[in-house]
Symmetry: C3
Subunit: 206 residues, 3 copies
């Protein structure tokens, strides 16, 4: 298994766990868990593959991804009640999923020889869109747009780190560096309140 496949698997499994946790908040049945989990797990990578015209889409080529997502959904269905705070678990698993999905998107775009702007966008899209679909479909406030937290910023910084690192190091260093930067920024935002200034409207000039 290549590093990129490994990242895709990790991203699918951890995003599927988050999808199933959101399904538990909506009190769906086990097939509903699997549906939301599969949508969350494959959403970002599917958009990446369709936009970059990779054929076949990663989970069509290797249906093991679907089985992994369904297994993750079943695991959550039977164990989620063991956790005290499902929202906290969800937030941290989502941070972990972001940190593996961003290098998965970045790595594919770099391997196809795209320039920096496309690589950055594919990192952000692969990292953010699966969770965004999950939250829109389940009518949750999207984590990706939660005010006063680093999320897209963490993805963008991770993708930028991958581009910089790939100038001087092989993929096996650049993609883990991307994951580390993404997770550090997202975790720092959750734990210590790291943030960028948000827009605040001021009174118009006189």
């Amino acid at each position: 298994m290549t590093l990129l496949e490994l990242l895709d698997y990790a991203s699918v499994i951890v995003f599927a766990l988050t999808g199933a946790l959101v399904a538990s908040r909506a009190q769906l049945d086990i097939v509903g868990f699997a549906f939301v989990a599969a949508l969350t797990a494959t959403g970002g990578g599917t958009v990446r593959d369709v936009i970059l015209d990779r054929n076949p889409v990663f989970w069509v080529a290797e249906p093991g991804f679907i089985l992994a997502a369904v297994a993750a959904a079943a695991l959550v269905f039977f164990t989620a009640h063991l956790f005290e705070s499902r929202l906290k678990l969800l937030t941290w698993l989502d941070a972990l999923a972001l940190a593996v999905a961003v290098p998965a998107g970045t790595g594919v775009a770099m391997a196809l020889g795209h320039g920096a702007a496309v690589v950055l966008l594919m990192g952000v899209a692969t990292g953010c869109l699966g969770g965004l679909m999950r939250d829109v479909v389940c009518n949750e406030v999207p984590l990706v747009l939660k005010q006063g937290e680093l999320y897209v910023t963490a993805a963008l910084a991770g993708a930028a780190a991958a581009i910089l690192a790939s100038q001087v190091a092989p993929e096996s260093v650049a993609l883990p560096a991307c994951a580390a930067v993404t997770f550090t920024l997202r975790a720092g935002s959750l734990l210590f309140g790291w943030r960028l200034p948000v827009y605040r409207s001021r009174p118009p000039r006189r």
Copy 2:
């Protein structure tokens, strides 16, 4: 016209009727009816064709699909007031649309030679995503995720029935069997409350 084209037409027309009914609940004008109807009618099949890299997408190849969706929207615009309960009509038309869209997705994926996991997912996606787009865009609670009803389960069981039946019978038997299983489960859920157990959080273990 092949059986697959027939299923695509039936799916487009019946989903268009549901889209127009949702538009009537939002009190849109006739062009708004046509817009929501066309989105609902083509959404699932478009995702199917893009993911499976079928070119051209079914309604680009045969614009009659669009005309059929627009005609269905106009029909609803002028007649919806004749029905006592538009919500009930919507729910049952949606069940019918699901029952023709699942075999339409399943049949295309089987005809392209995909394995069971991809066939199942394409059946579910083609059946569920058009209605999901309709409900997200019009800010309705998605029927597909309504708690305590069989919906994705009906689609999944129908797609599984198609796979099993296709081992021993031709497509002309397998796809109608898929439609019958899907509709029976969905209708049984609506009429008799058939359901799977839903997730309920329990207190954490001590």
Copy 3:
């Protein structure tokens, strides 16, 4: 730069401004502004290119589009407070974006030799879907489905005007005519309340 590229650039920049304005209403940080702006700016054209199988997608081929969207987002981040009514500014910029995106979609579909139904739908989809994604993701009531305003109708009429004009005039006339018709109808609806009759349920016949 061809006329179609020019329309794509104008559409990206003006839709990015609207995305950033919606981000300002959600009080996001500057990276959130860029994310919503890029999604809004590229959403409609990406769907167009994926459905019509244009490879590569327009902004993958020319990453200048992304830079333009990000620059527009930054501009709004630092200047939006200068405007008295951001909602009014948003509505009018959105009308302008619609009026350049519809000919951008229409022109591409006509250049690929598609028939009238596909050209109309691509005009509407390219014009409407970016803003629809923006509003769904940011949990705003979609402008495109706002009751009692011409929006999809303006897009549809513009696309129809392009088809008619292209029978007797070159693209350099047909596409500006499309933009003029779209903007006139949308602006007339905003300024003078032009509208089509909306659906109103009546009591069922006895």
